[in-house]
Subunit: 404 residues, 2 copies
């Protein structure tokens, strides 16, 4: 029995409210010129005040050297071992647009893309077409492409060049390779089915792509589609079943809404902005839930854009909104990230993320600012990201004593 | 193979003496007014001097967020994975009164309690009756209650309202639910036997309780009994078999004496006081044993009483006795706890406990005081409590080299 199963056994449906403020990609590394990380440069008096009242530390989200995607990163924070619970990106995208996935559905992410006459990909995102065009093309596909089998398919716009493809039928395998070659100048990859069930799916997907290519042949630049992240949907055992947590997600971006649904959380209607998310938290706090997950996306986006100052600005913007949360005085308030996205690197990274836990029972330490270096000296130490949920439950007095 | 099995393979019967001074529940969190923990407030020059000569650190006893009971806490310190070795409280209580448990015995903890005419429990402890009354009632039960089967039962006073019930026979199951409803105003629970062997035990226990209720009907307030912590006794593989340690326990409280017997340690006659325990350690040191476990109870008791100053006083009292230990100059001297019991919380908690290891081979660090914060900067870092035994064995030069 591992420690996570022990939390499951000890969790009871009493105790305090837990609030997670997840600053996506917040961890950084020092900018070579400034000698400081984004968090160190940002003026964040509210986050720093919170650090002074919290147990601080660092989380190595999935494991040493592992750069988590958003799915594994968030699952880990929610107490789901990302090495055990593997969710294809297609599933997450489908959940993220509130698509009502059924067990056994196979889903994939889709990009509209530009294919040259020689069959190679010229642009993996078709010049990031507008959502409106995406909608027209999706409509065209839905009206013209048909698959002959005992089930049905769904093709749904996400935004810009992104869409979702879902196959619903019986005995469909979900272990297919991405057709997206990840580089321009290459032809799409084959699906490489492994099992008979995968083979069935592969034939349907191949037929689908072939029909789409014919249908879109005059739709330059969006004249083809690329698929990736195939997976078969099986809902996870919920946060409520595992940890007696009735959770609610407050997020604007599909991915995070999707992960939340996957673990059985309710998902608030899109607040439509950062301030609106904080206000939505305030509005729903203390009512039907005991676990509140608020997601901040742009700290990650600016990091991915290599926009150091932009990321600093996002952090300062979050800081100004933090009093909305602290005035709620949650029993357990956690601020952390699902992974680092150093602006210096312009992508997700494996670096540990700072974390702080404010609670009556917190062993408040000497950390006075919320950043990657200050938190090194915190009382939580450097630990696996998977341990966060156990600590949050403990501080919420939501775990019984182990043994007598 | 996990690391504990490696210690087992590498342990040899040579090397130095290991002394564990276990300050039960010693870890705390800061008192909101004082801004300091019990250990930080206490004047402990001897413990602090020891910290200066030791490797210091923090132990997360069973795991992150897990609040250990005394049994799992101590098993962990002795190198027994508490997630693997689960011992019912009945077994621990029986061992604690030196009851000579045989393999296959089923034991439960008993409370004398007060039942109202409607069958609900008015007081789970019968007003904490005096030990003397408990003894008279136990005598009455032993003389009047009989069970018709091929074995026998034992009913023994522990102290105040506490007793132990043991069934000895063949093919008795030990997986029964507590009858203790844990709250007043409720009727006792049923035993919910799962297997045929449990069913056999359940019938005997039900008959026993029925007879006791009739017998004690005029014995207000102690007119019934509640049972909990049923378990079947199977001795653990001993410290000597596993780690080549011949251990001795110096403790006054039943629970700790019980856990020690369970892992094959000898248990000294009750010293009858804290100073007497330290003197008993001195008297037996270096003779028949190479592992000495001295237990200090009141640091936990004062914590559970929410008595911050009382806990501080216990720590200062221990400090004054520490020279008795240090003058023995043990090869390995460990000071730590089985869990935290912050006076602020008034109960066991999951917070890491400070630890120090003094040995010739210790990598002495810059820690100059023995407390939860100072030890954060120690050379042992923050680690699982289960790792302590391996480190103690290593510093005792009681582990061979691994591989060539």
């Amino acid at each position: 029995m591992n420690i996570i199963n022990v939390w499951e056994k000890l969790a009871w449906n009493q105790g305090g409210n837990i609030v997670y403020i997840i600053l996506d990609g917040v961890g950084g590394i020092p900018d070579p010129e400034k000698g400081k990380t984004e968090l160190q440069v940002a003026h964040t008096p509210n986050l720093d005040r919170l650090a002074k009242q919290s147990s601080c530390g660092l989380l190595e989200i999935v494991g040493p050297g592992i750069t988590p995607g958003s799915g594994p990163g968030h699952l880990t924070l929610f107490g789901y071992d990302a090495l055990q619970y593997k969710i294809g990106r297609g599933i997450l995208s489908a959940l993220g647009i509130e698509f009502d996935l059924q067990p056994g559905d196979v889903a994939a992410r889709v990009n509209f893309a530009t294919m040259k006459a020689d069959g190679t990909i010229a642009d993996r995102r078709a010049g990031r077409i507008e959502t409106q065009l995406n909608q027209r093309l999706s409509e065209k596909i839905n009206q013209n492409v048909s698959l002959e089998f005992e089930g049905e398919y769904f093709f749904k716009t996400v935004s810009e060049h992104r869409a979702v493809f879902v196959l619903r039928g019986t005995e469909l395998g979900g272990q297919l390779q991405d057709t997206d070659p990840q580089k321009t100048g290459l032809q799409p990859h084959g699906l490489q089915p492994q099992s008979q069930a995968d083979q069935k799916t592969a034939q349907l997907v191949e037929s689908f792509i072939k029909q789409v290519n014919q249908l879109l042949s005059d739709e330059y630049p969006a004249n083809t589609i690329l698929m990736r992240g195939f997976d078969c949907y099986n809902p996870l055992i919920s946060l409520e079943e595992r940890f007696k947590l009735k959770g609610v997600c407050i997020a604007d971006y599909p991915m995070y809404r999707g992960v939340s649904r996957l673990v059985g959380m309710d998902v608030l209607p899109r607040p439509g902005g950062m301030k609106e998310r904080f206000q939505a938290l305030k509005s729903c706090y203390g009512k039907d839930y005991n676990f509140y997950f608020l997601h901040v996306k742009h700290s990650d986006s600016r990091g991915e854009d290599k926009n150091f100052e932009g990321k600093v600005n996002v952090l300062e913007e979050v800081d100004q909104l933090m009093p909305i949360v602290t005035r709620l005085n949650p029993d357990v308030l956690v601020v952390t990230a699902d992974h680092s996205t150093p602006a210096v690197m312009g992508k997700h990274s494996w670096h540990p993320v700072p974390v702080m836990i404010k609670a009556k029972t917190a062993r408040v330490d000497s950390v006075t600012t919320f950043d990657e270096y200050a938190c090194m000296n915190g009382s939580l130490g450097l630990r696996s990201g998977l341990q966060l949920m156990g600590l949050a439950l403990a501080h919420g007095e939501r775990l019984k004593k182990y043994g007598a």
